[in-house]
């Protein structure tokens, strides 16, 4: 099993490497419910990792702690070699990161949500331009140019002046992807980005994801129930259950020749619908 889940010593938290996202001994609980338990995971630069698993297994949580929407309880996460939740002291030990440090590291990460979360009072282009102008200090002209390029890339140049209320679900999601791309993150997180869409609108969104994958610049972590798409886009598939990686490997292995019973029963259940 070509697993990247390493059972390293839990105190070994500071190792550096080329990995784009590196989870070390990450724990996350909501009250008494443990959602992530001693998670070790390396995602390589440019790698496309698809996370599958039953409902409640912690797939969303792993993306949310990477985006800092939820904070981890223990362990470390590194993004592009920098600790996300920690700062290194001059003595070489780790201390809790300041908000400023988190913001700096977080600028490498982008996320697309299941329910789009577009800003409803702004047009598509304003949604896309906001972060470049306000966070990156890009001039409005430049941000508009970039924004229009991105909207064209997702096939929505014609809709630049429409507000989210005037767009279909599939269009909203593509605007949301363009908005996330506008900050030029090296890591993009996608949480079931097609599952709130009518079936006939899914294709356009998947096409955009394929385009991003093809460029190969962006590390992608995707949670999806679209197994066909997972097979096509993934370099590696992680089967998640109860906050742990049960099985990990290329699609041909995990989907076609699963080694674990849990994976087999999950794939069986998914295949039934």
């Amino acid at each position: 099993m070509s697993t990247n889940v390493t059972e390293t010593d839990r105190t070994d938290l500071s190792d550096k490497g080329a990995a784009s996202v590196r989870f070390r001994a990450v724990d996350k609980a909501f009250g008494s419910l443990t959602v992530l338990e001693n998670l070790h995971l390396d995602v390589e630069p440019g790698e496309r990792v698809v996370i599958i698993g039953p409902s409640g297994s912690g797939k969303t949580t792993i993306l949310r702690v990477t985006m800092t929407l939820e904070h981890i309880d223990a362990g470390t996460i590194q993004v592009g070699g920098q600790h996300l939740y920690h700062e290194e002291t001059s003595a070489g030990s780790l201390k809790a990161a300041s908000e400023r440090h988190i913001r700096k590291v977080r600028s490498n990460i982008g996320m697309v949500f299941q329910h789009f979360n577009l800003f409803p009072h702004m047009s598509a282009i304003e949604n896309v331009m906001l972060a470049p102008v306000k966070v990156h200090g890009t001039s409005r002209e430049e941000a508009q140019h970039l924004g229009m390029e991105l909207l064209a890339k997702v096939g929505l140049a014609e809709h630049a002046n429409h507000t989210p209320g005037q767009l279909s679900g599939g269009q909203k999601q593509r605007v949301a992807i363009a908005r996330a791309l506008a900050t030029q993150p090296s890591v993009m997180l996608f949480d079931e980005v097609t599952s709130a869409l009518d079936p006939e609108l899914v294709g356009d969104v998947l096409k955009v994801l394929r385009d991003i994958a093809e460029e190969g610049k962006t590390t992608m972590m995707l949670v999806t129930h679209e197994m066909g798409f997972a097979r096509e886009i993934a370099d590696r598939i992680l089967m998640f259950d109860k906050g742990r990686v049960v099985e990990s490997g290329p699609p041909s292995q995990v989907l076609d020749d699963p080694q674990e019973d849990r994976t087999r029963s999950f794939l069986g259940a998914v295949a039934e619908h």
Binding site: L69, N117, M122, L130, L156, E158
Partner: protein
């Protein structure tokens, strides 16, 4: 772009994909009319109202006086009633002016209070919560007496009664407004806050561009109702601080002429003339916001 039929998903047409990126001649339309943009609308309304009233800096002055010879137990007379109208309007103007100026303070201070109360730092949020609850749970009548004696007891502080009035009204209603803002802020969906984090927006951008523009429209009807309520509280100032508003007008006329029915009835009519259209405007605002939400 003028295509109104944009709701259905457009099929991926060749032009969508074939168009080379970065070659657009494109004008960003202001996506909303300015009056639909709360972050523009609210300051505009407040500033215009405030300034136009402030521009007429002087409150009308002069004693209220009737043209009739005083006499006891005179029955109701329309002549007497109508001849009081201009003076009543003068009083009503003073009352309205104090209301608007007071509310100008309330609307802006209320937002500050709401933000302080939401602060993550307990040494900010706890005192803010205490002050808000304290002011909200004491009657404005008591607060006016308190403000009056406080100003009298402070040698270096001399304030015109009308200034005391709108400061008290402002602070009192700021606490109500702050609760309305708080509810409005909490009504902004969680996804909007999360998108702000995901885009790494700084706190100032998050608040001014994302949260407040979405919270304020929900709050406007409530603020409108408080404005009408404040208008009805301001005459308390006439009784306590002797400001020259409508109630002071009626009290003066009664003391001079011993004819209380007409002036009090008249100020009732005056209130109705202001409150009814105001209530109607608030309802219109509510409806238009419902509509915006679809």
């Amino acid at each position: 772009m003028a295509d109104d039929n944009h709701r259905p998903e457009a099929p991926p047409t060749a032009s969508d994909d074939a168009r080379p990126a970065g070659t657009f001649e494109f004008e960003i339309e202001q996506s909303h009319k300015w009056y639909r943009r709360p972050e523009v609308l609210v300051p505009v309304i407040l500033v215009v109202l405030g300034l136009s009233l402030l521009a007429v800096v002087e409150a009308p002055s002069g004693r209220f006086r009737s043209q009739f010879t005083p006499g006891r137990d005179v029955s109701f007379g329309w002549d007497y009633f109508f001849h009081l109208v201009p003076q009543m309007l003068r009083g009503l103007y003073t009352t309205a002016r104090a209301t608007v100026l007071g509310f100008l303070i309330a609307a802006s201070l209320g937002l500050v209070m709401a933000l302080l109360r939401r602060s993550e730092r307990p040494y900010v949020s706890l005192p803010a919560a205490f002050v808000i609850e304290f002011i909200r749970s004491t009657p404005i009548l008591v607060q006016m007496f308190f403000a009056q004696v406080l100003v009298r007891a402070t040698p270096w502080l001399t304030l015109n009664p009308i200034v005391i009035l709108f400061i008290v009204v402002g602070i009192h209603y700021a606490t109500y407004a702050s609760e309305a803002y708080r509810a409005g802020i909490n009504s902004v969906p969680k996804g909007q806050w999360e998108a702000s984090i995901a885009l790494n927006l700084d706190p100032a951008t998050k608040w001014t561009r994302i949260i407040i523009p979405q919270a304020v429209p929900n709050v406007l009807p409530t603020l409108g109702n408080y404005l009408v309520a404040a208008f009805k509280d301001v005459p308390i100032g006439d009784a306590v601080l002797s400001t020259a508003g409508v109630l002071f007008f009626a009290n003066t006329i009664r003391a001079d002429d011993f004819r209380p029915v007409e002036p009090y009835l008249l100020i009732g009519v005056g209130f109705l003339l202001v409150s009814l259209p105001a209530a109607w405007l608030v309802r219109r605002l509510e409806e238009s916001i419902e509509y915006e939400r679809d």
